[in-house]
């Protein structure tokens, strides 16, 4: 709770938090405002914004409601961002934790493995993975997760290496606690702050990645996402600026909000750890 308090005392982070909260609300409840699908062709194509009261942001190349698309897109952008980040954490944390805690040949082996993923250009790898498993929300999420876990592993490894010789960890070892227990209960909770910060930034990056993939035509055809909307609108960017403009703003705003919250978290979480000496 105190983290939330600290966050909201930081004006910029508070702005990010509010935007993010609104986006989450839209993601959860928004689609209920548009009960029919966002694919429905509701009016004539290329209707500019504000021309029709019920279609605030106008219509797209097929006469579909842009606002409805944005609302549905919020859900999918956030979901893809969140889930891919979670998968990346699920891969990266155990890997980094084992490498950092055990060290030695385990560390060497796991880090060589990580290095492979870091050496292959990640965006190219994401493209290949999506193309191979055929574009769908699952393959996109998976691809994003597969290219974003190495930094997590490296971060967690670094934290574990720093913490494994902390005296409270040594004390736990002397206490006869199992490695499993030490990793999960002693060290991991103390690495959460940087992980949370990194995760919030990763969600942002994942949203950007998803939109880039969709832009290249590698989006899930079943799902109305922001990246898809820009990708679909780029060919008509001069006839209908609003088609790529609004989703672009939506992405930028979301990513911005996540970054602000991430930075706010960073500021709120880290001084507490280092500042505890003064108290």
């Amino acid at each position: 709770m105190s983290i939330l308090k600290k966050l909201s005392s930081n004006k910029v982070a508070l702005f990010g938090l509010i935007v993010l909260a609104l986006l989450i609300l839209v993601a959860i409840f928004g689609p209920y405002l548009y009960e029919t699908s966002p694919w429905r062709m509701v009016n004539r194509p290329f209707m500019p914004p504000l021309e029709n009261g019920s279609l605030m942001l106008g219509t797209d190349t097929m006469g579909r409601d842009v606002l409805a698309g944005l609302v549905y897109g919020t859900r999918i952008s956030l979901l893809v961002g969140l889930i891919s980040t979670m998968i990346a954490l699920l891969i990266g944390i155990p890997l980094g934790a084992s490498a950092g805690y055990f060290g030695g040949w385990i560390d060497e082996a796991l880090m060589r493995f990580t290095e492979i993923f870091q050496t292959v250009p990640s965006f190219a790898l994401a493209i290949v993975i999506v193309a191979i498993f055929e574009p769908s929300v699952y393959s996109i999420t998976l691809a994003i997760a597969l290219v974003s876990w190495p930094p997590v592993a490296r971060l967690v490894r670094g934290e574990f290496m720093a913490l494994r010789n902390q005296e409270y960890v040594l004390a736990a070892r002397l206490n006869g606690q199992s490695d499993h227990n030490i990793i999960l209960k002693e060290i991991l909770p103390n690495t959460l702050s940087p992980i949370i910060v990194m995760a919030s930034l990763m969600v942002a990056t994942a949203i950007l990645l998803e939109s880039s993939l969709s832009f290249l035509g590698l989006g899930d055809p079943e799902i109305m996402s922001w990246g898809y909307m820009i990708g679909a609108a780029r060919t008509v960017i001069r006839q209908a600026w609003w088609l790529s403009f609004f989703p672009g703003i939506a992405i930028a705003l979301t990513v911005l909000a996540l970054n602000l919250v991430g930075e706010g978290l960073n500021e709120a979480l880290n001084p507490k750890l280092s500042g505890s000496r003064e108290s």
Partner: protein, 519 residues
């Protein structure tokens, strides 16, 4: 048929350049900048007959004939031709004094080699037609005789550059065609000579000073530019970098804007030979598509006029049935499947459709096709058919159709002017085989249809063929083996300073020999 031939022979006397009447006098010189999309895999047109290869190499290589916009054969490397009464012996008289780009003379030996040896081995589509040909002989250097096993209606339609290009025998004979180094430096008889190919950037061709048609070509150079992004291609045209945008090289949504620019002209001519026909493959093997009423319901559910207007800017024509209206032997009296969701729902109800979702495979050929799939999905959703859209790239799409791993899928195919060449392949049961996305992939099988198509291909004369084709078209429209969408038109957009651009049924594929640029 006979009468048409004589006309053609007469036409041969008229110089090629005067076919199109132009207001201004042609001028010599200038460089033409054209877009080619995607970058061709090779310019060796005998090995690769895909669209970008044809578009470039069609100006380097030549066939024996050209076709005008009504699909009438015109002389090119052959000055005249005639046929026996029974339609089984065809004799072609070659033009004298034609040379290859390397200076060697072009003779009947080249023709026999090209068709009988080279293309029979390399060109799958021509191979199908060549099964009707018994022998190809060259009585002298300038005469070639094709002896058919039985009359083959579309035979005279096979001689354009893309289908039956002339390959230099002195370069390819006795070599491995696919690895012959000349593939990288194509040698033809056409109005332009290959100069340079900067991979990923452009292909450069220069004027053939020794071209066999006196006075042609007008242009000095042609550059085909490779610009992978559609929006960039539009900008390139807009900023004047590009003179000609061949059909299909920009997204349809950009066409109205580009044609409305100052000094911008467009034409939808030049596709008559191909007459691209778009339809939805319907996998007839599986429920619910196996039910004729379901397939008819799809026809009624689709708002094809909306698609034509919203996606194709009004270009094209709603397809009535399997044969395009510009293709020979089109049946004008077919019933319409109008946009009628109610009727579609009624049909679905009648068959007791249980709501099983169907998989829809869009065509991975750009924005328009993707949007079209979205529109059709919405159309189908509104009559109660749930679709799952499956996305894939070109390779995956081909694979899925070849393996029959789809329920509905977009496609479009060329008709090549004659149902026997471009239509029957989709419907005859002998063409049901895994491994190709261009045969009878929907798995429709009807002995009567098989019989009618077989008879129509070899019937003689044309009136008899028309009768048989009418019958088979009516039968297919009732059965709906596939859901026909549009007869596509791909407008060519070009700078109005370019004159005399499209003057054949294959359009830009052999356009530049006669084109000129106003200064």
């Amino acid at each position: 048929m006979k009468k048409r031939l004589i006309q053609a022979v007469l036409a041969a006397a008229i110089p090629l350049a005067s076919i199109n009447v132009q207001a201004a006098d042609p001028v010599y010189g200038g460089t033409m900048d054209v877009v080619v999309q995607p970058e061709p895999p090779s310019l060796m047109i005998g090995l690769y007959s895909n669209a970008p290869t044809q578009q470039v190499a069609g100006n380097i290589y030549e066939g024996l004939l050209r076709y005008d916009k009504d699909l009438n054969p015109q002389p090119l490397l052959a000055t005249s031709w005639d046929t026996s009464e029974d339609g089984k012996t065809w004799t072609f008289h070659l033009k004298h004094g034609v040379t290859w780009h390397d200076g060697k003379p072009f003779t009947s030996a080249d023709v026999v080699f090209s068709v009988d040896k080279f293309l029979r081995q390399t060109n799958a589509r021509l191979r199908q037609s060549l099964q009707y040909v018994d022998s190809i002989t060259a009585p002298d250097d300038y005469t070639v005789v094709f002896q058919l096993k039985q009359p083959f209606g579309p035979f005279i339609g096979l001689f354009e550059t893309g289908t039956m290009p002339m390959i230099p025998k002195h370069i390819y004979e006795g070599t491995d065609y696919k690895t012959n180094p000349a593939n990288h430096h194509p040698i033809g008889t056409g109005p332009f000579k290959f100069a340079e190919w900067k991979k990923g950037s452009y292909i450069h061709a220069v004027k053939n000073e020794n071209y066999h048609v006196k006075g042609l070509p007008y242009l000095d150079d042609i550059y085909w530019h490779v610009i992978p992004d559609a929006a960039s291609r539009s900008v390139a045209y807009e900023t004047g970098k590009i003179d000609v945008l061949p059909g299909g090289s920009v997204e349809n949504f950009d066409i109205p804007r580009l044609t409305a620019l100052d000094n911008s002209c467009s034409t939808s001519d030049g596709w008559e030979y191909f007459s691209p026909h778009a339809w939805l493959w319907i996998n007839n093997r599986n429920y619910p598509m196996s039910d004729k009423r379901f397939r008819q319901a799809i026809m009624y559910a689709m708002d094809r006029d909306f698609a034509k207007n919203a996606l194709w800017n009004g270009y094209g024509k709603v397809a009535k049935g399997p044969v395009g209206s510009k293709t020979n032997f089109f049946n004008k009296d077919l019933p319409d499947y109008e946009y009628n969701p109610k009727k579609a729902k009624a049909l679905l109800k009648e068959m007791g459709y249980d709501g099983t979702p169907v998989r829809l495979l869009p065509m991975p050929y750009g924005e328009t096709w993707q949007r079209w799939a979205e529109a059709i999905r919405q159309n189908l959703a509104e009559v109660g058919i749930k679709t799952d859209m499956v996305s894939s790239d070109v390779a995956g799409w081909n694979q899925k159709i070849s393996d029959w791993d789809f329920d509905l899928s977009f496609t479009y195919l060329y008709q090549y002017g004659d149902p026997a060449l471009g239509v029957s392949r989709t419907y005859v049961s002998s063409n049901i085989a895994k491994g190709s996305p261009w045969n009878n992939a929907e798995g429709y099988s009807d002995p009567e249809v098989d019989k009618l198509f077989a008879e129509a291909a070899t019937a003689y004369p044309d009136s008899k063929r028309q009768e048989l084709y009418n019958e088979v078209q009516a039968k297919l429209v009732e059965d709906v083996p596939v859901a026909w969408l549009l007869e596509l038109e791909f407008p060519t957009i070009y700078n109005c300073n370019v004159h005399n651009l499209i003057d054949s049924a294959i359009g830009v594929n052999d356009a530049f020999g006669t084109a000129w640029i106003e200064k």
